[in-house]
Structure formats: structure tokens, C-alpha cells
């Protein structure tokens, strides 16, 4: 859909940048604007391939959901005791995915690690959209989805309220809060850039950006308030993110099921969340870098840092994972122990071993500089890591149900139906679709922050001289 003539006037200049340098600080502010704005105008053809592919997957998911809605959850081949299947597993997966954005953005912001600046915007977008996807699964898994609003504490004449004891209600609150806050955070941090878009755009898009940029003129008062507010929200987001996934963890840790009733679940979940999130960031980093020609901003040194961060988190997760096994093993609770042994040796053992290998062994690839420098390898590795993380969630849900307290309902050969797979695949389509739309509509690289980055680095370099 893009013809060659247009291709020509996009030039990605290749000049020498010291390897240790996150970004070329000689880059002109004007160029930053043009590069980023152009990315919204004309991405590479691959963009459209990805977009329509994801649209296709999404529509397949929608079909499956409609089918399930009509015929009841039976078509998902769920049963007693396999009541949740892939839905809840994938729900946790997406919730986990959503944590990295906050991590990169908020924590690194507070730590003044400015290499975050070129990449935090899409990370935050990822947070928002994966949360939306996770929300879908809450609905999809309901038997009477048309009655979902019963979970909301809305005033009603009969004084009927949700059951605030239920972790699911905690979930609803936490996810609601997290979604709101991260949307606010994403949008708020984007206002100065929206002003840039406004100034550059014309026609109805100008109106659109004019509305969103809330009359931003970059005055000193605006900047001052902006800085404080942004920092404050960041401070809120960190504990919030932690709370969200520990609450999701309580869905399981609070229940009676052997294999779920584990004290170390909340930290374990949080670590897993950050882990899968970072892996996803690497994936998207590589994709965006190519699709939007961001070689000058999403540079290898930044990728390198991200990978190192991921490796660190992977090790934390591995540790907590082992701790969980150990505590179950030495806890000497017969039921939990049986469940653990079943996971390692039972009919789902292959997935269990795959999960451990992908989650704890494969990340060592991130420990080698040479490998970190290779985009293709990093792409594969990051995808593998996320596969591992998805398997982790699968292991948490399915084998536990298969081997609970009650032997009569033990099941060895349970397997989800095509409907479940369809909806899971559809969710990936939905996520990618939203994300790609976002990239087209909004600046994926934060222009003003990159300007700051360049500015400060340059001045500090001159100061050194």
C-alpha cells in the first residue's frame, strides 16, 4: 500500500555512534520530531501485514466466543473439576504482561534511569492493552456473562452487594484501579507530545490532537505541575502494580486447592508478571524498531540494558519458583506433595518440564553480550520466555484441578476444546490489533523525553570537556 516514490524521501542516516552510547546526543530536536511523526505517517509494509493478521485472529476469537455464548460453556469441554481451563490461565498471563510497562516507566523514572525514555511509551501502551485483554477473559469465562455487572458494587434498592470476601471482587477492584491509573499515566505523559502532533497536524487530525493536548503550550507553570503530577502518579503505580498481581495470586493462594494454597504465591506471581512483561517488551522493541524505523532511538545499548534487566528478573522468578517447590516438598502436606509430584510426573509433566526449562534455563541466553547483540536471537528468546510464562500459568490451573483433594474427580486426559484455543488465539489478535492502532495514532517514542535525554547528555558531555 506504499509505493516506492514515498519510500525514497524517508532516509535513515547511518553515522558512527559510540557503542556505549544509548543515543546519539548530536541528533537535532527538529529531526526527532520529524522522525517520530513520520513513523505515524508511513510505517514499513510489515505493519499492515501484522495489523491485518491480528485482525483476522481477533475475528476468529469473536466467532468462538459467540459460539460459546450461544451453546454454553460446555462447548469449551470444561467440566467438574476442570472448571477454568485456559481462560483463567491466559487471564493471568495477560495481567502479568501488563506489569512491565509500569516497571520500566515508573521505577526507572524514579531512579532517573533515562535510557527508559525512548521505550517507555510503548511499554505503557502494552500495559494498558494487555489489561484490556485480561479483562476480556474475566468476561469470557463467566457462565452468565450477561450478568457480569453483579460483581460491581452498584447501589440498588435491595441492598444487594457483591461478596467483598471474594478474591474475584478484589481482582475486579484492583484491575479496575490499575487500568484507570495506567491509562491516566499513559495519556498524561503523552500530553506534550500530543501538542507536538497538534502543531504538526492539519485538518480533522489537528482538531483531534488539539482536543487531547489540553491546550499544552509548554509554559513553565504547565511544566512544573506536569513534573510533580507525573512523578506522583508514578509513585502510586509501583505499589499498585505489585498489589494487582499479588491479588491475582490470592485467587489461588486463598483457596483450598492443594498446590494453590501456597504462601509464596503473591511474590511469585509478581516476579512472573515482570518477567513475562519484560520479555514481551523485548519482542515489541525489536518489531517496532524495524517497522517504524526507530533504529536511531531504540538502539542496541538500550535493548542490551533491557535484556540484562530481564535476566535479573528471570533469576528472581527462578528462585521463587524453586522456593515454591521446596516449601511444598518440605511442608509435608500430603495433598500438596501429591499434586507437585503429579505435575512433575503425571500426564501434564512435559509441559511442566518445558515450563521450567524455558523459564529458568533459556534466559541464560540473555547473559551473553554477543547473543544480546543479535536481534534475531533475542526475538526468538523473548518469544520462548513468554511461551514459558504462559505454560507456567497453564501449569498453575490445569494440573491442579486434575489432581485436587478429591480422588474421585481426578482427571488425567483433560484437554481444552477448539473453542478455548480459538478464544485464546483471538486474544492475541485483539491485543496486537489495539497496539498497532495505537502506534499509528500516537507517537510511540516520547519526543519531549528524548529531547530532554539528548539535551542533558549533551550538556553533561560538554561539562566533562
Amino acid at each position: 500500500m506504499i509505493d516506492r516514490s514515498e519510500e525514497k524521501d524517508i532516509v535513515v542516516e547511518h553515522r558512527f555512534i559510540p557503542r556505549d552510547q544509548d543515543i546519539d546526543d548530536e541528533i537535532a530536536w527538529a529531526k526527532i520530531n520529524t522522525d517520530v511523526l513520520q513513523s505515524m505517517e508511513r510505517p514499513r509494509p510489515l505493519y499492515w501485514v501484522i495489523f491485518f493478521a491480528s485482525l483476522l485472529l481477533f475475528s476468529w476469537g469473536v466467532y468462538c466466543e459467540i459460539y460459546q455464548y450461544q451453546n454454553g460453556l460446555g462447548v469449551a469441554d470444561l467440566n467438574n473439576p476442570q472448571v477454568w481451563g485456559l481462560y483463567i490461565a491466559t487471564f493471568i498471563f495477560w495481567i502479568g504482561m501488563s506489569h512491565s510497562g509500569t516497571l520500566l516507566s515508573a521505577i526507572l523514572l524514579i531512579m532517573h534511569a533515562d535510557w527508559r525514555k525512548p521505550i517507555f511509551r510503548f511499554a505503557e501502551a502494552m500495559t494498558t492493552f494487555s489489561l484490556m485483554t485480561a479483562g476480556l477473559f474475566v468476561l469470557v469465562h463467566l457462565g452468565r456473562v450477561w450478568q457480569f455487572y453483579y460483581v460491581v458494587a452498584y447501589p440498588n434498592e435491595r441492598w444487594v452487594w457483591p461478596n467483598f470476601n471474594s478474591p474475584l471482587v478484589w481482582d475486579a477492584t484492583a484491575i479496575g484501579t490499575y487500568l484507570t491509573s495506567s491509562v491516566v499515566f499513559l495519556y498524561f505523559g503523552m500530553i506534550p507530545d500530543l501538542a507536538i502532533c497538534r502543531d504538526a497536524a492539519s485538518g480533522f487530525r489537528k482538531k483531534f490532537y488539539w482536543l487531547l493536548s489540553l491546550g499544552w503550550q509548554g509554559t513553565d507553570r504547565q511544566w512544573a505541575n506536569f513534573r510533580v503530577a507525573y512523578l506522583t502518579i508514578a509513585c502510586f503505580l509501583i505499589p499498585l502494580a505489585v498489589s494487582v498481581h499479588s491479588i491475582v495470586a490470592t485467587d489461588f493462594a486463598v483457596s483450598q486447592q492443594p498446590g494453590w494454597h501456597v504462601t509464596s504465591f503473591p511474590p511469585y506471581f509478581v516476579a512472573g508478571a515482570l518477567y513475562s512483561g519484560c520479555a514481551a517488551i523485548i519482542t515489541l522493541f525489536i518489531i517496532l524498531r524495524y517497522v517504524f524505523r526507530f533504529e536511531a532511538y531504540m538502539t542496541m545499548p538500550i535493548l542490551d540494558k533491557t535484556c540484562r534487566l530481564t535476566f535479573a528478573i528471570a533469576m528472581v522468578w527462578t528462585y521463587l519458583n524453586l522456593i515454591e517447590y521446596a516449601s511444598v516438598w518440605y511442608g509435608n502436606d500430603m495433598y500438596a506433595k501429591q499434586a507437585l509430584i503429579y505435575r512433575a510426573t503425571g500426564s501434564y509433566a512435559p509441559f511442566w518440564w518445558a515450563m521450567n526449562i524455558l523459564g529458568s534455563i533459556v534466559p541464560f541466553a540473555l547473559a551473553f553480550k554477543s547473543l544480546r547483540a543479535n536481534l534475531k536471537i533475542m526475538m526468538v528468546v523473548s518469544l520462548l520466555l513468554n511461551l514459558g510464562m504462559w505454560l507456567e500459568r497453564f501449569m498453575i490451573v490445569t494440573p491442579t484441578f486434575a489432581h485436587g483433594y478429591y480422588p474421585w474427580t481426578w482427571t488425567n486426559d483433560w484437554w481444552p476444546s477448539w473453542v478455548q484455543w480459538g478464544i485464546v488465539i483471538g486474544s492475541f489478535g485483539w491485543f496486537t490489533m489495539l497496539f498497532m492502532l495505537f502506534c499509528k495514532l500516537f507517537p510511540t517514542v516520547s519526543m519531549y523525553e528524548v529531547k530532554e535525554m539528548v539535551f542533558h547528555r549533551k550538556s553533561s558531555r560538554q561539562a566533562k570537556k
Binding site: 470476601n165 484501579t177 484507570t180 513553565d220
Partner: protein, 173 residues
Amino acid sequence: MSTTAHTMALFNDFDGAAIALEELRSRKIPGFRMEDVTIKSPIEHPELSEMLGKRPVYVQVYTLVGAVLGALVGFTLIASAQANFLVQIRGGRPLVPIPPDMVITYELFILCGVLMTIVGCFIGWKLSGKRSPLYNVSISVDKIAIVVKADRNAISEINNIFSRNHSLEIIGE
């Protein structure tokens, strides 16, 4: 017609703007007050804004109020809702259980905190207030602007100062 007028000068970099500001402050021009100076810049530059004197930010206050209220109101609402729900024992737990309510209270604490922060910031921006017409798209690219509000008769002198400090462009009303 009003006695005051606005003028805006564009500068290439912060240093130029800084010198100009310095001169504005040193030269005691009648009908001109430093408080009326506004800087418009593509990125934030704290040092520069300091030259304009203290301009306090009240966002944190809103945050504090929001967070505290969120927590208190949150807990009260939940607890009284539970107390009012047709008395239903669940799993032998108390009708008003503390730990679960704490979880939700915590979330509301954060939610209201965040929202009030935004509100505070918007108020700080005097949102929906009139924006000054003196603006140039190049500000969002790489130029720094100094906007001054002063008596009409002071304007010409101020403009001189700007031009002397080789500002790229001076825009009046």
C-alpha cells in the same frame, strides 16, 4: 482598551533566553514585573524557570486529600454495605471481615490518589482557562519563547532587550 500588552520573543536555545531574562530583571523597567514573564519551551528547564522567582505547585496537597479520603470513605462504604446486606454468613467468616476490606480500601486509596493528582494538576494548569494567543509551533519543535505582559509603553523597551539578545523573532499583539 487595556493599558497592558503582551509580547513574545523566540530564542534558539536556553542560554540565549537566560541572558535575555537576566537583562530584563536587572533593568528596572517601569510597568514591568518579573512575575508577568512566562517561558514556553519544548522541554522542561528548571534553572530557567527559577529565574522567574518562586512559582509554587500545589498538586501534592490534592493528592494527599484524595488518597486519605479515598481510604476512609472506601472502608466505610464497604463495611456499611456488608453490614446492610441481608445478613448472610459466608464460610463462617465475620460479616465485616477486616483483611478483605483492607485490600479494597488499599485500592481505593490509590485510585482516588491518582485521580485527585490529575485534578490538582489540571487546576494548576488553569484548565479550560483562556490560552494566550502568543504561541508559535516552533516552540513544540526546538525554540524557546519568553512571553511578557507589561504596560504598553514598556513593550518597546522590552522588545529592544530581546532584539539586542538576538532573538530570532519578536511577536506582539
